[in-house]
């Protein structure tokens, strides 16, 4: 592939353009009516290019991408499943794309019905009373959920409940969201098998606890078998249970967070429900709650009237608004399309297939890679680097070498419980042949690490960009186009 690294600004030529605006239909000059204080003094420095320039530029850039449409993407904790094209087709229907949030609600009944139907589909899947679809992504969902938690304690006059218990194996967003929500983070230790240590949890449960954040299966891909006991203890102490939905995929249609005792959860539509993920998504992080918390959910909401019509409402007890209007509507349409395409029966196959695929890779590779926790995992698992540590080949080296073989790297150096973590999640959408090919390459890299460790340490060698100077990038970042140009001119 020819190397392409131009910026759109470099293609710019004065006066070149790919459009022509018609004369105004309204018969007056809007610029003349604009107050001088609102006018720019200089023209915006925008690239001036033709349509062909734009198409070639972005096509060339997109060819440098690696996505789930290009190849296998076993990024743990991210559920990089295939995004079915029917989702895109339905989300592109003009009846949905050409509406505006400020339109009269009588004229957008279909959109509101879709929002309402998706809320209720998620409620059924999660075993929770009510959902808001407004949060923009996972961490935003976490923040919203924790704001609900805080609002609940405030409404009870229980102001001393400010502590949120988070396991040491948690996704980094959990403690971060708790801090942003104005709560304090208390860490609970995990046992050697990765699950929460109930004995370590007990002394933390006093009358200052607002709740606990968990993901089940946990970040090691292991199901928290003591969840019912944990839920009982936390509830008895007056706290709430928050479920981080990042790991919902293996449970889909089989186990419901609501039935495990969780009071609040978020769902990543861009993980579990097959909407595009990464590169800004955009995502969507619906939040579901039990009945007693429903009134605290953010505004605005969609309600169904007795005559079957839908209306947008606000609730006085709500924690307020956390998004403009009703969130990322396009993403909701794709998730809804996915749920209807699979249907109730097929949704139940997602979890078991994701689990089978993960276990197949884990068992096939554990002779070459160090498996710190034995046993059946759920949708993902963690290796602690190569089994043979004598070669000096690290998890980072293996990850880079995988790129040479056309695979995306797994998640590395997370969770923090091990030094050389390598977190692999194949998802249910990969065929046996792809899994076998990945396994073969992983064996090959392990063999290379023994026979020719420098080959692996110098990887990648076949990619457009070789090994990046991460230290240099962190210490001397070049953040602006202008800086880049002046560096060139030196």
């Amino acid at each position: 592939m020819k190397y392409y690294d131009k910026l759109i600004f470099e293609l710019s030529r004065p006066g070149r353009k790919g459009y022509e605006l018609p004369a105004t239909d309204f018969g007056h000059d809007a610029f003349a009516e604009m107050p001088a204080t609102l006018m720019r003094e200089k023209d915006a420095d925008l690239p001036e290019v033709s349509e062909l320039d734009v198409v070639r530029h972005y096509t060339n850039l997109s060819n440098k991408n690696f996505g789930v449409d290009t190849g296998f993407y076993p990024l743990g904790s991210c559920t990089m499943k295939y995004n079915p094209k029917i989702n895109e087709e339905l989300a592109a229907l003009p009846a949905f794309t050409q509406i505006h949030p400020l339109q009269d609600e009588k004229s957008i009944q279909g959109a509101l019905e879709l929002y309402w139907n998706l809320q209720h589909a998620l409620s059924n899947i999660a075993g929770l009373y009510e959902f808001t679809l407004n949060p923009y992504a996972g961490a935003h969902g976490e923040l919203t959920g924790l704001m609900v938690m805080r609002q609940y304690h405030i409404a009870n006059g229980d102001l001393k409940r400010t502590k949120v218990i988070v396991p040491d194996s948690a996704h980094g967003t959990n403690p971060a969201s708790a801090m942003v929500a104005g709560l304090q983070v208390v860490e609970v230790k995990s046992k050697p098998n990765g699950s929460i240590d109930v004995e370590d949890l007990k002394p933390l449960l006093d009358d200052t606890v607002a709740g606990i954040m968990m993901t089940n299966p946990n970040t090691l891909g292991m199901f928290e078998t003591e969840i019912m006991e944990i839920a009982k203890l936390v509830h008895e102490a007056g706290g709430l249970l928050y479920y981080d939905g990042a790991n919902l995929n293996p449970l889909l249609g089989k186990v419901r967070p609501g039935d495990m005792g969780f009071d609040i959860m978020h769902i990543n539509l861009h993980k579990t429900f097959s909407t595009p993920h990464g590169g800004g998504g955009p995502g969507s992080g619906p939040v579901g709650v039990v009945e007693k918390l429903a009134k605290f959910l953010p505004n605005p909401r969609v309600k169904k009237n007795s005559d079957g019509s839908f209306t947008i409402t606000t609730d006085e007890d709500s924690l307020g608004s956390i998004s403009t209007f009703l969130g990322n509507f396009g993403v909701m349409m794709k998730a809804y399309a996915y749920i209807l395409t699979l249907g109730k029966e097929n949704l139940k196959n997602v979890g078991p297939m994701a689990t089978l695929n993960a276990n197949y890779i884990k068992e096939s590779l554990k002779d070459d890679y160090l498996l710190p926790i034995e046993g059946v995992c759920k949708h993902e698992f963690v290796f602690d680097g190569l089994k043979d540590k004598s070669t000096g080949v690290t998890t980072l080296n293996v990850a880079k070498r995988l790129l040479d073989y056309g695979f995306h790297a797994p998640t590395i150096y997370f969770p923090l419980l091990f030094h050389e973590s390598m977190m692999i999640e194949p998802t249910e959408t990969e065929a046996l042949e792809t899994l076998d090919e990945f396994i073969e390459v992983m064996h090959k890299v392990a063999a290379e690490a023994k026979e020719n460790p420098d080959l692996v340490k110098d990887a990648p060698v076949t990619t457009l960009v070789r090994k990046l100077d991460e230290t240099g990038a962190a210490k001397n970042p070049i953040l602006t186009y202008r800086h880049l140009v002046s560096e060139d001119n030196k």
Partner: protein, 126 residues
């Protein structure tokens, strides 16, 4: 194998201490720099700051992770290693030669409670 020096005391959070005439020199261990990988930034306290044993006094950032620095002693910071401001990679080159802060300790007995080389070696093996 990571280096562990005999004449230093250690915290289980991977800081080392050398106490001389009531002044504690504090840095991170060779094991810690190795685990972190290439260090790109050391967030240090300021001279005159009060530090407390067991509490955070700064952070080390590497290409892999950012980790809090936990003070092994209590007292007043009298000097920081300004060389690390521009060259944080010195910690990777020699973690024991390139200390992070010097503290006038308020309770020298705290140092006695820290691990010796043998005790720290055990932690690193776990």
């Amino acid at each position: 194998m990571s280096k562990i020096l005999e004449n230093l005391r250690y915290a289980d959070s991977h800081e080392w201490v050398k106490l001389e005439d009531g002044i504690a020199t504090v840095g991170i261990t060779d094991y810690a720099q190795h685990a972190l990988g290439s260090i790109v930034y050391v967030d240090m306290p300021e001279e005159g700051d009060e530090v407390t044993a067991g509490e955070e006094f700064g952070a080390v950032e590497s290409v892999k992770a950012a980790s809090d620095l936990i003070s092994p002693v209590s007292g007043t910071v009298i000097e920081i290693n300004t060389a690390l401001e521009d060259s944080p990679e010195l910690v990777n080159e020699d973690a024991y030669g390139n200390w992070i802060m010097k503290v006038e300790v308020s309770d020298p007995a705290e140092v006695e409670k820290l691990l010796d080389a043998e005790g720290y070696a055990k932690i690193c093996e776990e």
